[in-house]
Symmetry: D2
Subunit: 166 residues, 4 copies
């Protein structure tokens, strides 16, 4: 009985956990990686789960930030094998769907934070806005609908602020 | 023997057929639909196959244009059932993958022509540029890498010109 | 006006076209390939469209049969590039979704004919039965729900008989 | 420096974590659910991650077992929204790919344990065997290649035994 109550409360906690996507290029300069790592840290401090594409660059930096704070980093991989994930991913998902996996990242996320980014990132921004989800951008594509942020802290604040209104 | 030669030649012809994607919104004003229909007609006159998302608006207009010239219109549907296709689609493909089907349209196409378009179209433009394919735009998103065209004829000319260099 | 009537009638004809999947292994012995080719021919003679996985073995034989009768063969490929299709495919669709493409073949088909087949084929049989579609089997897996057929003619007859009751 | 060492060791631990799929029907009788719950518990005790389809029946029972032991339950959902997951899922992934998500479950898993199951489960068994992964079956489809198990403990033992040989 007590066990069931604990379980139920745990599951509620888990259900209430926000999932935040960090999107950006697989190869990124140090400045973007530092920003992404800080975003990852702040997501964990908010008790949210990080979801990303599971590879290098911005994705790896965000994963490192999240796990360094004891948070959970989920990587949705384009490849067939889960060992393609960067070393900071706790939960690697091997889709085998190539770029098709971009849709899954965005669909699963409550909000999306874009740090820099190339065309792959643009596809994720587009899906996020199409699905009506908050998309926060730091130094990223200039697309109507994106909520612009100055830095990591500003971005995470704006993501949670947008979610509090949903 | 003769039969086999004919078959082999047919298959070569088929293999050589270009596949051109027309992307754009499912609800579009008359001007965009007229442009899309003309693009569809010109694709058929070039003996190429049209691929699109299979639904209404720009997709339906392009399909109508292509089939009115005796060409083939392929519709890659987000839904589970092929009867969701617009009435001008010859080959409906029911993916059941929702927005995930956008990747398939772009992957299959040799070149992409964007006519207007909302966020879904933007995701397809992004995938096209990411895959290094020619993306021609009429009255569409302003994204670096897009080849701008004035009208339907200009767009189809530029698509085939780009392909002749591949 | 007359044009529109013709177009509308064409589109009705097209909408009414059945799509039949032929599933089976990418490497198959001559007996299975002969059967698959005959199934492909009979599908075309019924004025239906063939859909298959687009690769070798049973898929190639069925495509050859269909196109030899002037029918249309659609290949839903696991790979990223449409030039991976066998030479008899008229409409190659490059999904880039690996085995995930099996779902698309089955979802698009009105009925499924299995000729021999390994584990990949078994996944397609399972999806077909799960979706409540007629699955006809020649020399294939022994799964409850499959309608067994003796040969190509028997299989195609049973497929269309099942569809006439839907 | 010390932090980095800790992080690196954590990531190694995480990378080494096995991921075990439990597959089975979304509606299942009490006996199957009890077995699935016990399988879920044993997976957690082995310090492995559970992956499943995230819905009811066998999937929910396995998730409950895993989280009751403090383990992690990942649910790969067919739907568009993560709140479709059963209440014991820690990490819900909203694919929006319908049955297409079955491939992702199997691709991500190191081994698959089937508890009962209908046609959807059969498609996952087929994918598992196709990918050359150990597929353990309790009271499930009779398909060549499945390693049969008597009960939950036997199944989990046989899954890890098979993995130790990979």
């Amino acid at each position: 009985m007590t066990d069931n109550v604990v379980l139920f409360m745990n599951s509620l906690v888990s259900m209430n956990k926000r999932i935040i996507a960090v999107i950006g290029a697989g190869i990124a300069d140090e400045s973007l990686r530092k920003t992404a790592e800080e975003v990852g840290r702040l997501i964990a401090r908010r008790n949210a789960i990080l979801i990303c594409g599971g590879l290098g660059g911005v994705m790896e930096a965000a994963s490192k930030g999240t796990t360094s704070e004891g948070g959970t980093a989920v990587g949705i991989l384009p490849q067939d094998h889960k060992n393609e994930a960067n070393p900071y991913i706790d939960i690697p998902i091997a889709t085998g769907f190539g770029e098709g996996r971009n849709v899954i990242i965005v669909r699963t996320a409550d909000a999306i934070i874009s740090v820099g980014g190339e065309y792959g990132t643009l596809s994720e921004i587009a899906f996020g806005l199409r699905m009506g989800k908050p998309v926060i951008g730091i130094n990223t594509w200039d697309i109507k609908g994106i909520i612009k942020a100055e830095n990591a802290e500003d971005a995470v604040n704006k993501a949670f602020e947008a979610l509090s209104k949903c």
